[in-house]
Subunit: 305 residues, 2 copies
């Protein structure tokens, strides 16, 4: 069961060489979720072989162009690919108006339903839930309404020990309840305890997507213990003044937050175009939090079981 | 003196692999003119090393997304690059409203003046003129307001024969009028005829940009004899029914028009994503008009003197 993050764009506000603006795809059990959609998202999907048809939910952090200007083209191409399924887009208020303005002839817009879900960016709330995961919003601090997203896999089933099915001749209809932890009673009334039939479920996995934001320790309780944290690191710490002025974070700060929140792994990205090379970002962050990795366009981060 | 066309995007409505949506840059004497601005234009400029700061005029054919969705990001990046010069954008009516809608906080939009020039797409009129060239609109037939553009270099000066300057000790202030064709009178009153001092001016060069459009012979008198014609060829002629239905052109039709208008060279592009390979487009067009070339992202077409 996959839990895989693909980076489509790792740049900050301005694209720079091979770094396109922010866009990511999270694959949870082959359900694909798009996180932000900077200019060129659809080209990046082609290049990195993302199956865009599997995307039914798009989560937007805020309405700055480098996080949304890929959306109009993507919606158009969905339509040209004969999409009929409804699409859900979650974002701070105002996105629908922007998109609708680009398709002034109502009948010429995307030929499928788009449901815009406007979020209260000051609240931390459940914005999406299905059988396999929940998504909560995370208030961020970027000077305009902005929120990140916390993806949490739901409790997974215990794993059946295959040989036991045969050994006890367990009928298939009984298996779901055993996977949910129930003991099993055989035809003679003997109770077989669950832990003889199953091995423990794998731990549910989690991903927190935090961009764009100033350094803020209010995030710690929300993202505490996540397996994977993406946190913007637009600047090096030597440019802290610029980070403060523009409501962004330095690599050092991102690592500090990762450490304080005891996350599993930190990915940094959203680099300013002023930095051609990113070695210094990585070194700076790893001094504080060794399990840090650089986002780059085409990078894949997978949490395997 | 350059007259050079760079293709930034050669695809039709949907980007396909390495083919991005329509965008081109025409360099006339180091003045750069952007023609259409599909999604990813600014990334293509980086990749193909276009000096975007030299662009002060953008010519848009029509308001379909594959011709304009690169504009918001480009304008944003101009601003982040500290652009202060005014920018002129020529297009059918309605573009400003679309762009303004993407920058709802007036003070957060691009920090330079943008002059929108709305064109009457039914007229063939002078839309821009400076010392080196004129630009006329070309009515096109695409089912929505749409016009192409005809770039014509102005009459060039005759070329001074350098040795003659020395031989007759011609003062520099007299040279401009000689280049314009005047004879020259020396200190003793001897008239030196112009054709002893100069060689003829090179022929002014011209480029016609015709996309998107159905095949229409009304174009012929407008584009007759241009050195370089870009004409869309979205479909192969075996898909003529699709071309007619969508107000596009086939490769065969584009070549026919080039032949009838006696142009110098034809470039075809705006290919539908249904065609992975383009050999058939080229073969089909060359049967009718041998001097046909395929547009591809990164291609450069130069008319040298």
């Amino acid at each position: 069961m996959k839990f895989k993050l693909s980076i489509l764009g790792s740049s900050g506000a301005m694209p720079f060489k091979d770094r396109y603006p922010t866009a990511q795809v999270l694959n949870v059990h082959e359900q694909l979720f798009l996180l932000d959609s900077g200019e060129g998202t659809q080209m990046r999907m082609s290049k990195f072989r993302v199956k865009r048809g599997k995307i039914n939910h798009i989560f937007i952090t805020h309405l700055h162009g480098d996080h949304i200007f890929g959306l109009p083209g993507l919606l158009t191409s969905f339509g040209m690919n004969y999409r009929t399924e409804a699409l859900h887009i979650y974002s701070p208020p105002g996105l629908q108006q922007m998109i609708d303005g680009l398709f002034p002839d109502a009948d010429k817009g995307p030929p499928f339903e788009i449901h815009y879900h406007e979020l209260d960016t000051n609240a931390q709330e459940l914005v999406f839930e299905n059988k396999i995961l929940t998504v909560h919003s995370i208030p961020l601090y970027h000077g305009i309404p902005c929120n990140g997203y916390l993806f949490q896999e739901k409790k997974l089933s215990r794993k059946m020990i295959r040989e036991k099915i045969e050994e006890y001749s367990i009928p298939f209809p009984d298996i779901p309840s055993i996977k949910d932890g129930a003991d099993w009673t055989d035809i003679d009334g003997n109770i077989i305890p669950n832990d003889e039939l199953t091995t423990p479920a794998a731990e549910p996995r989690s991903y927190a997507f935090c961009t764009d934001t100033a350094y803020n320790e209010n995030l710690i309780p929300i993202i505490e213990g996540v397996d994977l944290l993406y946190h913007e690191a637009t600047f090096l710490h030597e440019d802290l003044d610029k980070a403060i002025k523009t409501n962004h974070t330095t690599a050092l700060q991102a690592a500090t937050l990762a450490k304080k929140a005891k996350v599993g792994k930190l990915i940094i990205g959203h680099y300013s175009a002023r930095y051609e090379e990113l070695d210094a970002h990585l070194a700076e962050a790893r001094k504080v939090f060794p399990d840090t990795y650089l986002a780059y366009d085409g990078a894949v981060f997978e949490i395997a079981h």
